[in-house]
Symmetry: none
Subunit: 325 residues, 2 copies
Amino acid sequence: MDFNLSAGMFDSELNFNPLVSDKTYDVMILGGGPAGLTAAVYCIRKGVSTGLIVKEIGGQVALTAGVENYMGYRYINGVELVQKFKEQVFQFGIDYDEGTAVQSIDAGDIKKVHFEDGRVFSAKALIIATGKSWRKLGVPGEEEFRGRGVAYCSTCDAPFFSGKNVVVVGGGNSGVEAAIDLARVAEGVTMVQFLEKLTGDTILIDKLSAFKNVRVIYESEVTSIDGRDSVESVSVKNRKTGVVDQIAAQGIFVEIGLIPNSGIVKGLLQLNQAGEIMVDCSCRTSVPGIFAAGDVTDVPFKQIIVAGGEGAKAALTACNYVLNR
Amino acid sequence: MDFNLSAGMFDSELNFNPLVSDKTYDVMILGGGPAGLTAAVYCIRKGVSTGLIVKEIGGQVALTAGVENYMGYRYINGVELVQKFKEQVFQFGIDYDEGTAVQSIDAGDIKKVHFEDGRVFSAKALIIATGKSWRKLGVPGEEEFRGRGVAYCSTCDAPFFSGKNVVVVGGGNSGVEAAIDLARVAEGVTMVQFLEKLTGDTILIDKLSAFKNVRVIYESEVTSIDGRDSVESVSVKNRKTGVVDQIAAQGIFVEIGLIPNSGIVKGLLQLNQAGEIMVDCSCRTSVPGIFAAGDVTDVPFKQIIVAGGEGAKAALTACNYVLNR
């Protein structure tokens, strides 16, 4: 028996068709990150008719410099991993749309997905896997040096800054946790906090204070990120005095929060206070026939392998729902 | 910046030390399948002191011929995938024990893991990821002829029965898949099914029906496995008539399901009726400081990527528990 279906496929062989308006899909998936792409593979392999709607393929993985914690690859860059996920979906052939914004969703017995360009698609079940976006600083250099010193995920990227000097922006839990992660490996960590004190949990702040290589600059904000090929320094302005300091650093972690891409289901699905879609352990939302997976949900950890696992669960739960209707 | 830390590592470079009795680990992980190995990578990368206790590395993945639904690989065989997971753990160095049976666990503030050989190890948090094992028939001859005609994994052992007559016990997906594997190589395959029809997926049963060398005996059960040095015949009793037939066979594949390896935590953790460890969506068990992940838990779908995702969640929840004690 030869299971090897995968040898020698190139990008040109990626196999997909446009979405069809006058059919009802079994499952329609919104989102092209690890959760959405994994859900697609599981739905297709279950033999249900599947549509995939993607804004930007790869989600946040495509924006990650190096991935060391996706099992199966000791190291892979984000773009390569996305390419592998993509090939795994498109080897089968799928009805697919990329780049169009979704305007709204109707949640009747048959779900309707309305595109901003006026097209409407139907499905018995939906999987929402639209992910999160990092909240940006919006300062010069942030886009330019993304993946070349500008990072957003300390769990993913802290080990790359071993022995280096880094800045962490943000003094909430994410910022403090990032600073702790980095303090273990980096030469020095400078936290830049907008307010006059850190707002993370006391227990985390206590923990942080045990590190001698961390300093906090209060009531300050980053005004630019500078360097030649990669980050070399960060400009920090004191909000009271207006004085701008240059901090030498090879990395900057922006930890000022994530925004769940849940706008299109607001008012339709139950969200938590952070705007995340609330799901049970089988990825069911508050509306029958609508499932959700990955970073857009209230699952606590935002990791590729977690999103993949949740995508598989959402797909299998959705397939059971469709097949047992 | 060169992020590639992983090039050129071979098996000989796998980096581990024996477990140490006179220290308290932050996290100790029991289990070497996808859940346990993923948990190990996440714990090590969080910088907590980690011990890993493994009975057989790879869990059931190591016994799987081909994997097509683990994201990142359109096709990979089970042994190769396990090797990749293993290298990913051992690149970091970890305190490790393989092959020793665990006798019991004490769940105080500091958890104690007692080995059957008398050694005891301590940790602030435990992750139970011990997976599932093949369910046994429990009939005379089963233990005696194990490895001498009695087998559980057609993927592993079918080739040994080339040109021979074999019995497959069980008519669910596992049984039908085993019969298909065996029909390709064996002289004849006799399926013994407890119920009055096969319960596997239609697509698999259709596939099975293409083989002329397969017969199914319904509403029957195996009562003994007989032979001198190895299996020579299998006794099968009709559940309605009580008549026992002797079927000449050199092999018998037992495909009647899987049981969770939760014996060591019975009475300690809350289990469901199937004996699976009950966990919340963050992999917490009923005992603070003990977490669980993968097939041994009540998570509904037994898939590599799901187990990996759960392993990551268990690790991150356990690290938070340890760091916030």
